[in-house]
Symmetry: C2
Subunit: 441 residues, 2 copies
């Protein structure tokens, strides 16, 4: 078995595979650009081999893939394609946690002919969301339920014990994606009506949800919820909505940044080298020699004196006359730099993955509302909730492919019972499980 990429969120994945290697008499090769990183993951275990490897080295890639029975690719999403192509060539199975790109999907028929499984979207979001939702939707359909509404919410957040800043948020994943989230606008369906939200209104249109023991969250909608009608066979559905979770108050404050224009990633700022954060904010306000930057911002965004959103902006240091220290960049780059200073995960901080599905359905003329949620907390800065949920999903499914319990070939995502049932079962043994409440409407 070959694991390519040994960075963040692979600790639990590789531990699991090394343990399974003992059981099934496998060898696990961990290949990374940085040999020390690969060695650290293997930690001297006899079933593991660490390798220095650059995915751009096509000859080395071919050789490694040829020797393997299965490749787990933990590379960034845009780097999977050459690996998957080599896998098809050498009849080697492939597992990844990333979205299946249109280019990767084109390998489907070739993979089928070669009897190769290219399993994608096998992480948490996408991954556990597909599996948990499809398990419940298939069960409901088997009970002759007519499904009227499906809403799904996921968030990578800080655990309550580390939730200690006014935004109630820290970067547990790619900061750039957080800054640019939702750009391009949103579409979904609500009670039979198509709904569109332009980007500049997105963070005013969140839905508040509550999870027992964990309290309230805000869910702002993801870009295209409509395409999940295809994935989940929900064509006639009246409401379909996918959203990202934040803690209450986040969206109002983030909306201020959007309204100002600070999340824009297209325009390059002039004379950025000399600019302070205060001047940066002032560039997005009108000119008035007599008014302070704070007052102009309050006036433009109509923020009251006691506005919690204003306090969050102030806490970020947006009004400080402190040099930004970037030579060139877009407003989004400036904002990301500031946020990375303000929202880092501390050494003792724990993260938390929260997932929530809401269903509405009719059985025998009665309408039901069901809410199902999963919360996983990290143990430490390596064994994060993200590393657990992604790593276990990938690792379990890799094992199931190699032990021929998953036998579907071609490009596969975990929306069929043959895939999701055994993976969910084992995830539950590791404490990754959903709890539900049902009520009659």
């Amino acid at each position: 078995m070959l694991v390519i990429g040994a960075g963040k969120s692979t600790a639990i994945l590789i531990d699991y595979l090394l343990a399974q290697a003992e059981v099934h008499d496998w060898q696990v090769v961990v290949a990374d650009r940085d040999l020390d990183v690969a060695r650290h993951r293997i930690d001297g275990k006899s079933r593991g081999t660490a390798l220095e490897f650059d995915v751009a080295d096509a000859a080395a890639l071919e050789k490694l893939v040829k020797q393997a029975d299965l490749v787990v690719s933990m590379l960034p999403a845009h780097m999977h394609l050459p690996v998957a192509t080599a896998c098809v060539n050498h009849s080697t199975h492939f597992v990844s946690a990333s979205y299946v790109s249109p280019e990767l999907r084109e390998l489907h028929h070739a993979a089928e002919r070669k009897e190769v499984t290219l399993l994608g979207e096998m992480g948490v979001d996408p991954g556990i969301d597909h599996m948990s939702a499809m398990a419940r939707l298939d069960a409901l359909r088997a009970s002759n339920a007519s499904i009227k509404a499906f809403e799904t919410f996921t968030g990578g957040l800080v655990a309550p014990e580390s939730d200690d800043n006014p935004w109630r948020y820290k970067f547990t994943w790619n900061p750039r994606n957080v800054v640019l989230a939702g750009q391009g606008g949103v579409k979904f369906k609500h009670n039979g009506r198509y709904k569109y939200i332009p980007y500049h209104k997105l963070f005013t249109r969140y839905e508040v949800v509550e999870i027992p023991e964990y309290g309230k969250f805000e869910g702002y909608p993801n870009r295209d919820s409509l395409k999940y009608r295809h994935h989940y066979d929900l064509f006639g559905i009246e409401t379909i909505y996918r959203a990202t979770l934040r803690r209450p108050g986040f969206c109002d404050a983030w909306n201020c940044l959007v309204q100002l224009g600070l999340t824009d990633d297209t325009e390059t700022l002039e004379a950025l080298g000399d600019m302070t954060y205060r001047e940066f904010v002032n560039s997005y306000l009108w000119y008035d020699a007599a008014m302070s930057v704070e007052l102009k911002l309050r006036a433009m965004l109509k923020l009251e004196l006691n506005s919690p959103a204003f306090d969050k902006l102030q806490w970020l240091g947006l009004f400080e006359d402190r040099p930004i220290g970037l030579k060139e960049g877009t407003p989004a780059k400036v904002l990301q730099k500031l946020l990375e200073e303000k929202w880092p995960m501390g050494a003792d901080d724990k993260d938390m993955i929260v997932m929530l599905h809401k269903y509405e359905y009719e059985i025998d003329g009665e309408r039901w509302r069901e809410q199902s949620s999963m919360v996983t907390k990290g143990s430490d800065s390596e064994r994060t909730a993200m590393a657990k949920t992604v790593g276990l999903s990938v690792a379990i499914s890799a094992k199931l492919v190699l032990t021929e319990q998953i036998t579907q070939r071609g490009v596969v995502i975990p929306t069929t019972p043959l895939v999701y049932a055994p993976v969910l079962k084992e995830l539950e043994q590791h404490g990754i499980a959903f709890t539900s409440q049902v009520e009659r409407v």
Copy 2:
């Protein structure tokens, strides 16, 4: 002389050239895809020849350009390049009213070597704006003035006698450009500060200006005002601002369309074929079974009962349960279709070009504020203000090139006195002139 394109706004251009052809013993070939259109423009005059011609026919283009001493290209902006390239090959001069594209600018050295003039940006905006501003800026600099601020405003509007709808606007030019105006955001400089406005705030940040006899206008900023520092040699300037003029009330109402998301041209609407205008608007509002579309819109946009902006939306018919009648498209396409029904120029309507420059400068320690404006009204639906200002600028400069009064070679825009002085002088004889007011600050 070869004129390619005989559509809208070429009536006055071609009349002028045919009259000059009598004086200078020239022949004018008018080439258009539609032979009847070309014939109509020549109207039987002996100096003219009408030709059917498709610019995609490279061989025909080469032949026509080779026979000509000068080509006037009235094609859409993106179609000039092959014509200008042929002109360089055959040592034929070239005049157009469009912005000089980066690709066209690359012909500069080749044109210089061939002693060819490629004169661009020779219409109204760009064109008369360059010439009138540079004439004044050069005169001020010759008087040792230090120029502190330059703001320039242009609008293609309806003349007061045809100003009879609540928006005080009709389409006198490309509707698509009006619907998409400002997308991508804006940058300019105000009192030494760089200022950026994201698209969704653009129509709240207009400046009100007043022109004697014509009353008030709103100017919303154009995309990139900063690049005009290069064109006009204004590198140290404290304020530089270019804007588009509308009548008061327009921007507030247009801002409602922007806020809703109706000007977006990226997202394709689902099930558009069955949709009415009312349902279209409702797609951009939240779901609420008990509230009317009107009330939800008022609530989202915070519009009072007596809001003039709301009345303008209602006048457009946005709340009517009338089928849109488009099979597919973006919100911007739907909006354009509706606006083309509501804002057409009637057969008796007259248009109006309004241009205004504002200067601030210091001479001998005294600070002055100057405003200079030009208003040109159309005579009828063919001899529009647009046709006059664009046509005369192009025609006069074409004559000046052929009579060797303009001798600058290579790619030229009318920012040098050798070009703008004779053109402005003759435009003034045709009644296209600026009037100024100066006051000490």
